[in-house]
């Protein structure tokens, strides 16, 4: 099962490497968000530090949606989804493979855009760098796993581009609220680390529950 999932993830990422369409869109979007925010909030002003946690998650959520939308729509051309469904593997392998591909792309976007954000706003980290990475990882993990599942669900509908965000926001809002709060504490108020950890635990629990749920339920979503 893991093997098939890796094959699918590799296939998606390699295909992305060839076309660069999705990743380029995601990164350009992230760059635009950062630029617009730097116009709106003077980077030299100290109070603008407060908006940075918000900006980080705006980037993740919206560029994430751009990627997620393509994830299953791209399998509609030539009905390649059928090709995956008739192959000898479980539906959960397809989910896992798609999740891995989406998650890797998300990480690439974060890796490119967040240093740019910190540079532009001249942001100094006072320790807690490890915690920031942790929040980013588990937050993105939950967001992308639920997003991958809902993208599969929405792909069968004609207006999937609209449907996905509509479904995604309510379900992932606990993750997003927790992630923004935890990020804010880590970036601006590291002394209160214990309350950030409480948020992190909440997100982790949510992640695990929903990942398992998506993993089990995907079979019912992928039917033709």
């Amino acid at each position: 099962m893991i093997r098939s999932a890796l094959l699918i993830a590799k296939k998606d990422l390699y295909s992305e490497l060839k076309t660069k369409q999705v990743l380029a869109t995601m990164i350009i979007f992230a760059g635009l968000v950062i630029l617009v925010f730097s116009f709106a909030f003077d980077p030299a002003n100290n109070t603008t530090k407060a908006v940075i946690p918000g900006v980080i998650w705006v980037i993740i959520v919206f560029s994430g949606i751009l990627g997620l939308n393509r994830s299953f729509i791209s399998e509609q051309r030539n009905d390649t989804m059928q090709g995956l469904m008739i192959a000898p593997m479980d539906a959960s392998s397809i989910f896992l493979g798609k999740f891995l591909a989406n998650f890797s792309m998300m990480l690439v976007v974060e890796l490119v855009s967040l240093p740019f954000l910190f540079l532009l706003f001249d942001f100094q980290m006072y320790g807690g760098f490890g915690y920031l990475i942790l929040v980013l990882m588990i937050g993105s993990f939950g967001f992308i796993s639920i997003g991958t599942f809902l993208a599969a669900l929405a792909a069968n509908s004609k207006s999937s581009e609209m449907l996905l965000p509509l479904l995604l926001f309510p379900v992932t809002s606990p993750i997003l609220i927790g992630a923004v709060q935890a990020t804010k504490i880590i970036l601006t108020n590291i002394e209160k680390l214990s309350s950030a950890m409480a948020w992190i635990q909440l997100i982790s629990a949510y992640d695990v529950i929903f990942f398992v749920l998506c993993f089990i339920l995907i079979e019912n979503v992928l039917e033709v």
């Binding site: 076309t19 030539n78 090709g83 008739i86 192959a87 000898p88």
Partner: protein, 234 residues
């Protein structure tokens, strides 16, 4: 090889398959004929595990379809109307990907060999999106047989092929047949049906209307019986 009994498929309150009974032995090459909308593609999709039957029993190689999906998927090579190929990928990359999904060893070697067999070696590394309909169809066939399945389900494989490609396809089917492969082929091309199949099943309105063996590549018999069932006496 295949046992279908009382197979019914309903979609949107509409009966698409209304009680199909069919037994197909190992090594048979069966052509499925019938007018548009008769339910031929739906029948193949049920066999390919893509859609679930509403009721009825389907057994492949003695395995019940519902409970042995994984084993059955390995036994089948399915070629639907669409190519199931990734456009940005070359034939080689497509075939290696699917070969690996089916867990075959030395997928790359096998892929190169198959591309050669369908006469497209020259285009081995070109992206599929630049191919003509006939070339895509040939790669699609290679995709369907990469794991050497003992059962082939082909949905109108001859559509859009030129004479050369048709004979390549027929040779592929015949050489699979020589290895003991069972083939189910939906087609509108009576000549191909008469040439390479040893049994004809005519489906009309979701039911088997006629089912007979072919002798001596009798093209006339096929068209005669088809007209009788489909266009003729009402």
């Amino acid at each position: 090889m295949i046992e279908i009994s009382k197979l019914i498929k309903k979609a949107d309150n509409k009966l698409i398959l209304r009680g199909i009974d069919l037994k197909i032995g190992k090594g048979e090459t069966v052509a499925i004929l019938g007018p548009n909308g008769a339910g031929k593609s739906t029948l193949l999709k049920v066999l390919a595990t893509l859609i679930k039957p509403t009721s009825g029993l389907v057994k492949i190689n003695g395995l019940e379809l519902r409970n042995n999906q994984m084993k059955i998927k390995k036994l089948q090579g399915y070629l639907p109307h669409s190519s199931l190929l990734y456009e940005h990928y070359s034939p080689l990359e497509n075939l290696v990907f699917f070969g690996n999904l089916y867990g075959i060893k030395n997928a790359e070697e096998k892929a190169v060999e198959l591309v050669k067999e369908v006469g497209l070696s020259f285009f081995l590394n070109e992206p599929v999106k630049n191919f003509s309909r006939g070339m895509i169809q040939r790669i699609a066939i290679a995709r369907a047989i990469i794991h050497e399945p003992p059962l082939l389900l082909l949905d109108e494989p001859h559509t859009g092929l030129d004479q050369g490609a048709i004979s390549i396809l027929n040779n592929v089917i015949l050489s699979m047949k020589a290895k003991g492969t069972t083939t189910l082929m939906v087609t509108h091309d009576f000549k191909q049906a008469a040439d390479i199949c040893d049994r004809i099943v005519i489906i009309k309105n979701g039911k088997v209307a006629d089912d007979f063996r072919m002798e001596e590549k009798a093209l006339d018999t096929v068209s005669e019986k088809y007209q009788l069932q489909v266009e003729g006496v009402s």
